[in-house]
């Protein structure tokens, strides 16, 4: 599903973020990406959804060579990747329904399909009854659910989540994790960067640790491994 071959990334200002990373993530895996701040986790994720391109090396996502992608092809590849952020990134002036439907409109799905599917995912994340509310009327956990609904509405093969529980209290974080696990169970590959030790240690998955731009640890059912 995701393959990186000797990926190097140096930013324009000279900062080197990744130094020869190679990794293979299979379909339907759930991967935690751990490591100190500034270790290269975000760059790792940005390469997957083609926010950045590698300075050297090749990366394949869902069969596409991301580094060599033509500009006009980018949107079509992104449609197969759902992205979730720590700060939710919802559009404040759109209702919950519109925030989710928006992702389907962007890929020009028929209106009837949009309506049906949007309500379906809102039900899955447990917010069907609030579809007419605006993001500001929702709690943090609820907002993150909306952003998850938006990420999965187009049935992406991969979900990339950058600290999805970073802004949430422990109970709410657990809810979100259960939701992600459910989505993973239905067949979506998930790559999640996190600093949440409790979650990583209690919901055991594959753990990839990055330090100074290198993968220093890669274990199935691994532990968080850092003291906070």
């Amino acid at each position: 599903m995701i393959e990186m071959h000797d990926i190097w990334k140096t930013y324009a200002d000279g900062t080197s973020a990744l130094n020869g990373v190679s990794v293979k993530i299979d379909r339907n895996e759930f991967v935690y990406l751990v490591g100190p701040s500034g270790a290269g986790k975000s760059t790792f994720m940005k390469l997957i959804y083609r926010e950045e391109i590698p300075t050297k090396g090749e990366i394949f996502v869902n069969g596409f060579n991301i580094g060599k992608l033509k500009q006009r092809k980018i949107p079509y590849v992104r449609r197969n990747i759902g992205v979730i952020f720590q700060d939710f990134r919802l559009l404040p002036k759109l209702t919950i329904y519109e925030n989710v439907a928006f992702a389907m409109e962007a890929i020009e799905a028929p209106r009837k399909v949009i309506k049906k599917r949007t309500m379906e995912v809102l039900e899955l994340v447990g917010l069907k009854h609030k579809h007419k509310s605006f993001p500001s009327q929702l709690s943090g956990g609820e907002q993150q659910r909306v952003s998850i609904a938006r990420a999965i509405v187009n049935n992406p093969a991969v979900i990339v989540a950058d600290e999805p529980t970073g802004n949430l209290d422990p109970d709410t974080s657990l809810d979100i994790m259960n939701l992600l696990e459910e989505i993973n169970f239905r067949g979506t590959t998930i790559v999640m960067a996190t600093h949440n030790k409790e979650i990583v240690n209690s919901m055991r998955k594959r753990v990839i640790a990055i330090e100074h731009g290198n993968i220093v640890r890669d274990e199935q059912r691994g532990e968080y491994g850092y003291e906070i």
Binding site: P75, V83, K93, E105, A106, I107, E108, R150
Partner: protein, 305 residues
């Protein structure tokens, strides 16, 4: 593009105007004010231009013949002057008509000056009143009349008058008025464009997040651009139509209100139907262009997410 996508873009464009109420209001206000000032100046410029033309068209050449020219020479001269290509009209003023016109001009009070003069002892020469197609050509035509007169053995022309000196000054003034009008209108157009693109840039900066999220979920650039395009066009068209209507209605009111007060002037304001086409065309085209251009340019800047 699918039809349903197009309707979506139009719907989103409309919604966006309503949702971004204050930003839309700012755009509409700045387009409105710019166009309003522009419209007023277009009307002023048109009227000044018309007045300048009217004054210029009153410029004529008067050809005074010698008093003792033979009839066939007069006829020949009249024909030759009339054949100058720039001449639009030649009026032959006989001695008798000349005297009558002079009496007219002197008025009742001074009529005794001309007492005793009649058709037998009329001291006035025959004159030609010459009008030209292009007022600025009077000097060249006057020179040509002089040279025609020079071809006769004895010149039949005593004098050629077109208000030398005064006419040149007049043209300088009318040209200055016209140029000032063009410069003001051009400057106002540029100001309007700058003002509005700035407002729209603010709108877009406010929506940078929206654009980056659209890109994140896999929207194509054209899909992102369309609603902004629709929004800009809508704001531009609606505002310019509204402004044009207000300017023209206001102008009509002014004409009606001052119809009698201004009638002592020889010059009159142009009627609405004469200025309507140019004013509304300029304003609506400019307004729509500004709206569309402003939004398209600003979106382009933020599409490279």
């Amino acid at each position: 593009m699918k039809f349903s996508t197009l309707t979506r873009h139009i719907r989103e464009g409309f919604k966006s105007i309503l949702r971004n109420g204050w930003m839309s209001f700012a755009s509409i206000t700045s387009i409105f004010i710019s166009l309003l000032i522009l419209g007023v100046f277009i009307l002023l410029a048109l009227n000044m231009n018309a007045m300048a033309s009217q004054i210029e068209s009153q410029v004529q050449i008067r050809v005074f013949l010698e008093t003792d020219v033979a009839d066939d020479v007069v006829a020949d001269l009249q024909k030759q002057v009339g054949n100058i290509p720039e001449v639009s009209k030649l009026i032959y003023v006989s001695k008798e008509e000349g005297l009558a016109q002079l009496r007219d001009r002197m008025g009742e009070d001074n009529s005794d000056w001309l007492e005793g003069y009649n058709n037998e002892n009329n001291p006035l020469p025959i004159t030609f009143t010459v009008e030209v197609f292009e007022p600025k050509l009077v000097k060249s035509v006057a020179d040509q009349i002089h040279s025609i007169a020079g071809t006769y053995e004895t010149s039949p022309v005593a004098d050629v008058k077109y208000g030398q000196g005064i006419v040149e000054t007049l043209f300088k003034v009318t040209d200055a008025i016209r140029n000032a009008g063009y410069i003001v209108v051009a400057a106002l157009s540029i100001t309007a464009v700058l003002l509005i693109s700035n407002t729209i840039r603010m709108t877009i900066v406010a929506r940078q997040r929206e654009i980056s999220i659209m890109k994140m979920v896999g929207a194509t650039n054209s899909f992102i651009r369309w609603p902004f395009f629709v929004e800009g066009a809508l704001i531009g068209v609606i505002t310019s139509v509204l402004t044009t209507a207000i300017v023209l209605i206001g102008y009509d009111q002014i004409i009606n209100a001052f119809q009698y007060e201004l009638s002592f002037l020889t010059m009159q304001l142009l009627p609405v139907k004469e200025v309507m086409a140019l004013t509304s065309l300029t304003m609506i085209i400019l307004g729509s262009f500004i709206g569309i251009w402003g939004s398209v340019m600003s979106v382009r800047k933020y599409l490279k997410v």
